[in-house]
Structures are given as C-alpha cells and as structure tokens.
Amino acid sequence: MNFFISVTAIPLATVILSLTKLKVEQLRLVVPVMSWLQLGVLTFLCLPALQSNHSFLTLSADFSIEKIGACFLLLTNFIAAASITHATCFFANEKLVGRGEDPQHEKLYYAACALFVTAMSFVFLSDNLGLLWVSIEATTLFSAALVYFSRDKHSLEATWKYLIICSVGIAFALLGIILIFASSQHGAIAGGSLSLRLLVNHANELQPKLLQFGYIFCLLGFGTKAGVFPLHTWLPDAHSEAPAPASALLSGALLNCALFAICRVTEIIQVSGHSFFATFLPITWGALTALAASFFLIHQIGIKRLWAYSSIENVGIMLVAIGLGSPPLFFFQALNHSLAKVALFLLSGNIIQSAGTKDLKHIRGILQVSPSWGITFAAAAAAVTGMPPFGSFVAEWMILSLCDDFVQRIAAGVLLFALALSFIAVSLHVGRILWGKPKHQTAVLPTFSSTLIPLLLCIFSLLAGITCLPTFFLDQP
C-alpha cells in the first residue's frame, strides 16, 4: 500500500487544493510545483527498474514496472509537468484575449489533469491486464473533462464523440483481455491469470486460437484509443477542441498509453510463437495509418487538427515499431514524438491566442510576430516530421532499418512515402504560418515564459538525436 500512497498522494493533494477556495493565481503557482514534485517521486520510485535491464520491479501484488515502462512513466509525467507549467501561463493569457472568465473552470482543469495523469501513470505501473484496462478507461473519463474545458458547442460535440467511440473501442479491448484470460486457463496457469509477467513467461502454453482473437480485440480496442486509421475519427476533434495544454497531454501522453497497452499484449503473442499475426498486423496497419494520416494532412484547415493528424501518423510509425518487436524503439519514437508534439501544441496555443483564430488560412507571419516562437515552431515541426538532427529521425531510421523481409520492406516503403508526404504537407502549412505578413493585430504579446517550455522540449528532442542518450534504453547497435 506504501507504493500506492506514494503514487497518488501528490495528485490527490492537487485535486483537493484545486477544489478548495484557493485563488486561481495562487493555484497557478502551486500546481506546477506539485507536478514536478510528482515527477521526482516517481523517478525515485522507478530508479531500481531504470538501472537494471529486463528485470521487473515488483511494487505490489498487481503492480510492477520494468525499464521501458519506467521510461514511459517518467516521460508521461514529464510531459504532464511541462504541459501544466505551460498551462498556467496559457490560462493567464487566455484572460487577455477575453476567454476563460470563470476561474472555477481552470481549477477544475487542474484537478482533472492531476487525475488524468495519475490514471496514465497506472497504465505503466499495472502488471495486471485488467487493471491496465481500468486505468485506460479512467484516462478516457478524466480527459473528457479536459476536452470539454471551453464548454461550447464544438467542445461538447468533440467530447461526446471522444467518449462514445473510445468507450466502445475500449469495451472491445476488455473482450480481448477476457479472451486472453480464457486462453490462460487452458492448462497453462492454474486458474488463469491476467498478470502480464506470467502470461509472457507461459506464452507458449496459452490456447493459441483464443489468444489470437484476444489479440485482435485488444488491437481494435486499444487501437481506437490510440487513433489508428480508421478508428482515429475522434482524435482530431478532441485534440483541436481541447485547450492547447490539454491537447498536448492527449497527444503526447495518452496515445503512448494506448500504444503501450498494445505493445504489452503484442509482446505476449510474439513470445508465444504465433508471432506472424502479431508482426504482420501491426506493421501493415501501422504503415497504412501513417499513409492515410499523411494524406489527411494535405488539406487541413485547423492548426491543431494538423498536429492531431500528424500524431496519427506517428502512431502508425510506433505501431510498426511494436510489430517489429522492439519496445525500446517504440519508446524512442514515442519520446521524440511526445517532446516535439507537445512543443508544437503549446506553441500552437500561443499562436491561436495571438492570431485569434485556429484557421490555418488566417494565421500568417508568425516569424515577424515573434522570431522565438517562429524558430521554435519550425524546429518542433522539423522534429515531429522526422528531420535530423532531431531524435525522431534516428528513431524512424532505426525502425526502418529493422524491416527485413518482403512485407516489411513494402511497409518500409509505404512509411518512407508517408514520411515524405507528411513532411511536405506539414512544412507547407508551417511555411505559410511562419512566412509572410501577419494578418491580425496580436492580442497576446510573445513573452519569454510562453516560449520557455516548448524551447526546452525542442532542445531535449535535439539531444535525443545527437547524443548517446538513446543507448540508455536501446540495447542493440
């Protein structure tokens, strides 16, 4: 129980603080501190897992963590802390443009955010497939509150679609988990088990047919949550209607959770010896997703929708990494994507505030409005589209270089095409945003604090690309 308290104490404190009569201005000082503290606590907790390769660190009966999980946990909390820190500045500016009159909304936002992040943390901590499912479902519920933040018609529509489609999808994932549980009862483990570790250890004794269908349902379910084409339909809506820091969280952290679940399940199948299915399906589907998303990028109208589709594209790439059976690479790609995408969403928030519109047709000349925004924005866009020297280039390159047989080579070709297309499409939009003369009088003047977090994220992404940082979790050359 000790572990449980240490993980939940600070978020719960945040929730309580947010719901008391504390003034918003004070809360804005407290909440970021809390989130960074939480990151510290979790780092301390995961330290043993991080130091050793391949060994599980048991935390309690149904909770354990290993290296990649710990990496994901820290990444998620880091992203959350960054996003919340930026959010305080973002909401302060929101007042200047005449939105966000009710301080209660903002306080609720912080509370929901803390809960959301905790739920995501449990995704990585749980060793039990059932609990994994519960945590993921919980993330949906808490993040719905974030999507609904602006409380207008559009955000309502987005929230509804998000809730319904993800719930249906997640329900299928539950069915899949039940099937996997059923498969474990066929002689392998007495009474069956949902423990991931046990399942992986006894993978070849599981009932293959049940396992296969369980995998299919899990892929469908978690795939819906991860935004795999054509189940991605909720994603652009939710990402574009949520306030920018929340979009950043959804894209930079939530998608990783869903993919992490897929990764865990895939691992079981791949170990079980029936790996063709678990290799072929994610790879082809991932490549297809990336391809479709890159086409969606071409005629975009909303700045945040653009990044949402770019996230879908990256989800496709990560799915390929999962299919290739390389969780470290999956994490590497996720790390780079999260860093860059969060920077992009946060900056897009600034830009939307400054230009007063989300419409890509009307945002022009950001380089003239603020060179620091513009340069960081360009750098983050380059990072997210897999340009060197940012980490995503290395990650994508390593993923592509793993593709060896016929199907994989075709998938690699499709991915290369998708990457090229998405780079062209994204830079077309980014170029239009940055270049030219601004169309609107700016309401929000660029400040140092509004660039700080995105800039830091970009620098981290750069470091992931040009230093040996990835060797920490990548073991193969």
Binding site: K161, I164, I165, V168, G169, F172, Q212, F213, I216, L219, L220, P230, L231, P236, F276, F277, F280, F295, F296, I298, H299, F332, L367, P371, S372, I375, M387, P388, P389, G391, F393, V394, W397, M398, L400, S401, C403, D404, R409, A412, G413, L416, L419, A420, L421, F423, I424, S427, G431, W435, G436, K437, I459, G465, I466, T467, C468, T471, Q476, P477
Partner: protein, 651 residues
C-alpha cells in the same frame, strides 16, 4: 575532436541561433568577414594537409542515437571541399556589398544563421563516410537552403518557390533513404566503403539512390524545382546552391555508385538517357528565359546533365573494362563539376551585382550596362565565355575531356551500336554547345549591351569593391584552371587514385590551352597597340537608315532574339501569348496594346500539376471519411472489427 569541443560547437550554434534569431539588423561586414576567415582557414588546412587522408568519428556522448557520425577526408573529398571553400571565400567577400541592397527585405540574423548552417552542413555532407551521417547532414543542408531560398518570404512567389524546392528535396531524400536502407539490408553495413553495386540484389537500391541524387541535382525530368529555387534566393545563396549544392549530388554519385562499381547496364542507360535529355532540355529552356537567374538555373541543368553523362559513361566503360575511357570520363565529371561550380558562382554573383544596381534581373528591362558597370560586364562576359566552353577558358577543358572520352569510346567500344550512340552524343553536344552560345549571347547582348530598356537600368552604377573583387578572384581561377587544364586533370586523377579509385590520365599530348591563351593575348595586345590604338575614332549615331535617332524600343528584345531558334524547337517550347488592348475605342483605335508572351513548361503542365492534383484529389476523397457523423464513425469500428475477424479466421 574531443567531447568538450563538440559540446562547445553545439552550444555555440545554439547560442548563435538564440542571438541571431532576434537580430533583424546586423552589419553584414562582421559575419561576412568571419565567414571569409573560416573558409580561408579551411582552404589553407586542406591544402597544407594535401595527400593525407583523415578519418574521424564521434565518440560516446555524441552519437546519433546509437550510430556514430563518421567523416572522412580523402583526395576526392578534398577537391570538392576546396571548391566549396573557394566559393564561400568569394561569396563572403561579395556579401557585404550585396546584402545592403536587400537588407530591408531580409532578417539579417536569421539569414546569417541559416547561411552558416548551410555551409557547415555542406562541408559535413561531402566529408561524411557513411549513409546515416550523410543523410543527416544532407537533410540539414536541405533545410538550411530552404530557409535561405525563402529569405524574402513576404512575396508569395518566393514562398511558392520554397515550397516547390522543399517538396523536391524531400522526395529526393526519401529515395535516398530507401536506397540506403535497402543497401544496408543487403550488405549489413552503413559505410560507403562496404557498398558494392555489382550484384543483382543491389540494383534496385542503386536505382533509388540514382533517382534521389538526380532529383536533387536537377536532372530532367526532376529539374523543375531548380528554376524556381535559384532565382528566389539571394544571389549569394544561389551562387552557392548552383555552384556547389547541386554538385554535392554529383559528388555522392561518384562516391557511391562509381566507387561502388555499379555494373547494371539498365541503370547506367537510364542515368545516361536522363543526363542527355537534361543537357538538351536545360539549354533549350535557358534560351527562352527572360529572368537572368532563371536562365542561369536552366544552364545549370544543362551542365549537371553533362556531368552525369560523364559519370554514366565512366560507369559503362568500367563495367565493360575499358579503363582509359572510364578514367577520362570520371576526370571529365570531376573537372566539369569544379569548373561549373566556379563559373556558376561567378555568373550568379555578377547577376546579383546587376540585380542590386539595376533593381531588376529581367532582360526585358536591362541593357546598356556595359558603360555603367564595365567591370561587372567583363566578369560576366568571361564567365559566359567559359560556360559556353570557349577555349582557352576552363569550361572548355572539361568539356573537351568529355568529347574526347566519347571519341575514344567510338574508337574502342566493341559494338557498332555503342559507337553510333557515342557519335550521336557528340553531335548533340555540339548542338548543345551552339545553343549555349546563343543563350549566353542573348544574356550578354540584351542584358549589358545596347541602350538601357528601363529607368532603373539607366541609373545603375558600378558595384562596390568587394563585389568586384569576389568576381575577379573567380575569373582569375577560371582562366588559370583553363590554361592549366592538363595539370588540373592530372591532379584530379591523382586525387581519385588516392581515394581508392585507380584512375590515370593517359592523354599523351594534351590540350595546348595555355599556349593558345598566351598567343591570343599577345596577338590581341600587339594588334591593339600597333593597329587599333592609333586609329582616329569619331562617335556618331547608330545606323538608323536615315530615319532619325533610335530609341531603346527599337532594340532587339530578349524574346525576339531567341525567336528564330525557338521556332525550330516548337514541339518543346510552347509560348502562351496574351494581348491586351486598352483605350476608349479598344476595338478600332486601341491606345495602348500590351502583348505578353510566356513560355509554358510542358512538363509542369502535363505531368507535375496533374500528379499534384491526383494527390489533392486523393486527400479530398479520404477526408470525406471524416464527415462528422458519429454513426459513420461507429460504422468504421464495426467494419474494422469484421475485417479483423475475417483476417483472424483465415490466417
């Protein structure tokens, strides 16, 4: 280099980015002189370490993920790096005088940062020794150059050019990435040294690599980005882009395919065919351009075609064990890329000087600069003569090697078909040469001679000292390397040999370009002194058939000069004519008639625009999926479920 030094460099670059990012105004002399010193140092160290090969790779804290960055400087690399350093020296001397003319439109800090990034990545890309390093710095180079092309991004047309360039360059790197990855999975190595293209499994990656580099170097039919990108960039940038960046692809083709001993006849034939077409196509379209920079850009396409042609010939000859021809052709390729680098840089710099002074590059409003900018004219003319491969200048020396290798091919190659093909190429080359003369006579004659066609051209003055010195240095190099062509050829052969490709320069009696140069100048000087100088000269009007003085409107226009030639090539050169009549009674008594002719790029209209439309249409079709109805979305979930279940049942 140790860790801390790399760290310092990185931090320095980061700090520069932060510092320069906000500096809209900057005295150009400071960054320019820094650039000059740096490139001078580079040049000096390259020369001082002549003959030594260097190999260097990054150590633990600075890896690309898990891959080290590997760099290597050998003979061939050194040649190209020297060219780069030379060009940068010239451009940095040129810049202060030029930048001040575009200062209002550019963000100086960002410009210089991108410029430095561009330069550094070009140094790196040429010296990179493995595929990953290459691709990383290659992309950096592309990104930096895209930013530089969009220096004056307030214009829609510049943005459009930047986007076209961006698209082309990304497609190129996608092809390269595909080829590299494939080669890796065939050979299991990233190092260029380990790549051999002599077995069938390597042909497809070789083809991908070839196409990638063809796109980036502007070979037909992938050249369309080039006439957009070069004119949009500032002259100092297009000088480097045209002078060196497109040569990087040529260098890489030599480094990868020629050193890798590609022996697939099909790929060589494709490369050869594309090169031949682009040579012809480039010069043909250069003929009808009115923008001086566009004209130069098309001429670059022609010259890159020549270089790739030489490379293809070399590959062919090596695959058929005709070493003399292979050696000649590869020397021709390297030499010509050197020469073209110098020349194009010179011509772009001159054009930049004209642009800065006359505020236009349009041949339709230039003219009469000969009297106002005599030095610039002299440099431009020398460059033009050289690029038309007029002996004894350097353009001829390399083109002659190419001619000679085709000639030898006729003599030595075993079958009649190859002999005939070589003959056809010689024939085509001479036609292309004649066309090039027409192109540059048009550029020189209409741009510099006669009477000014516009007020701005009338007000032009001679460019500043730095601008002239930069050009003069390049001119001297052109003349020197032309006159010492034999020495340079031997140098190239030696450098190639030291890089691992056995090449010998076997021509016993070389070109007497030096003799011709000296003789020509002595003859000209003595005749001038003896005969012309003493002649009594009276100034009078141009012959006007007695009708009174001529105006600038009675001069030949750029279009009309090219018209007789363009008529011959009507199938390729399509004009679009539009006439506008204005006035009260427009039909019978038009007061003002404006006729505009525009050349249509068939390739763009027939191939690229439909292809883009196809992509756009596909995207539109796909976006109909996202129609907003939640029922539809749920249906997708059901459909996917069914599909997956069927897959699960059958597999």
């Amino acid at each position: 280099m140790a860790t801390f030094e790399i760290l310092a460099v990185l931090l320095g670059f980061l700090a520069l980015a932060l510092f320069l990012g906000h500096r809209k105004h900057l005295k150009p002399a400071i960054p320019a002189s820094l650039t000059f010193l740096a490139s001078l140092t580079a040049m000096a160290s390259l020369i001082l370490t002549w003959g030594h090969n260097f190999h260097w790779q990054t150590q633990a804290p600075f890896l690309l993920g898990v891959f080290p960055l590997t760099f290597e400087v050998d003979g061939l690399t050194r040649l190209y790096l020297l060219l780069l350093s030379t060009l940068i020296c010239a451009v940095s001397v040129f810049s202060p005088g030029y930048i001040s003319h575009i200062a209002a439109k550019t963000h100086a800090g960002q410009y210089w940062f991108c410029f430095w990034l561009f330069i550094v990545s070009m140094y790196a890309v040429v010296s990179s020794a493995d595929a990953i390093t290459f691709l990383v710095v290659w992309e950096l180079m592309s990104l930096a150059s895209i930013a530089l092309v969009a220096t004056d991004h307030s214009h829609q047309s510049v943005q459009k050019s930047a986007f076209i360039y961006l698209g082309a360059t990304r497609v190129a790197s996608a092809f390269l990435a595909g080829g590299f990855l494939w080669m890796h999975s065939v050979t299991g190595s990233w190092s260029f040294h380990d790549w051999r293209f002599d077995v069938e499994s390597t042909y497809i990656p070789a083809f991908l690599i070839l196409i990638g580099f063809c796109i980036k170097s502007g070979i037909w039919p992938f050249h369309i980005w080039l006439p957009y990108a070069h004119p949009s960039a500032p002259a100092s940038v297009s000088a480097i882009m045209s002078g060196f960046m497109i040569k990087v692809s040529v260098y890489a083709l030599i480094r990868i395919l020629v050193f890798g001993a590609l022996n697939s006849l099909w790929i060589i034939a494709i490369a050869f065919a594309l090169a031949v077409i682009s040579t012809f196509w480039g010069v043909l379209f250069a003929l009808v351009q009115n923008d001086l920079k566009k004209l130069l850009a098309y001429s670059s396409i022609e010259n890159i075609g020549l270089v790739v042609m030489a490379i293809a010939l070399s590959l062919y000859a090596r695959a058929h064990s005709l070493p003399t021809i292979a050696d000649l052709a590869i020397i021709a390729a390297v030499f010509h890329s050197w020469n073209h680098g110098l020349l194009k840089c010179l011509l772009f710099l001159s054009t930049g000087a004209v642009d800065a002074q006359a505020h236009t590059r349009d041949l339709r409003s230039l003219g009469g600069l000969a009297k106002r900018m005599p030095w610039t004219m002299a440099f431009f003319f020398t460059g033009s003569f050289a690029i038309c491969s007029i002996p004894p200048l350097n353009g001829f020396s390399s083109k002659w090697l190419l001619y000679e290798s085709f000639f030898q091919n006729i003599l030595l190659s075993p079958t009649a078909i190859e002999k005939g093909l070589s003959l056809a190429v010689i024939c085509l080359l001479s036609a292309v040469g004649a066309l090039a003369i027409a192109v540059f006579v048009k550029a020189m004659g209409v741009g510099f001679l006669g009477v000014a066609r516009s007020k701005t051209a009338q007000r032009a003055q001679e460019a500043g000292l730095g601008v002239l010195v930069a050009q003069a240095a390049l001119v001297i190099l052109c003349v020197a390397s032309g006159a010492n062509s034999e020495f340079v050829s031997r140098l190239i052969a030696q450098s190639l040999t030291s890089s691992g490709l056995k090449v010998s320069y076997t021509i016993s009696n070389g070109l007497p370009t030096g003799t011709v140069a000296i003789l020509l100048s002595i003859l000209a000087a003595s005749i001038y002194v003896i005969f012309l100088k003493t002649s009594k000269v009276t100034r009078y009007r141009t012959w006007d058939c007695g009708f009174g003085s001529l105006t600038e409107k009675t001069q030949v226009s750029a279009d009309s000069f090219a018209q007789p030639l363009a008529r011959i090539f009507r199938p390729f050169l399509r004009y679009q004519n539009s006439a506008k009549f204005e006035g009260a009674d427009r039909r019978h008594f038009p007061e003002e008639v404006t006729v505009e002719t525009q050349i249509i790029s068939i390739l763009e209209k027939r191939v690229y625009l439909p292809a883009l439309a196809l992509f756009g249409g596909l995207a539109k079709l796909l976006s109909r999926l996202q129609a907003g109805s939640i029922h539809l979305y749920l249906l997708y979930v059901c459909a996917t479920l069914c599909l997956l279940l069927i897959l699960g049942m059958t597999l």
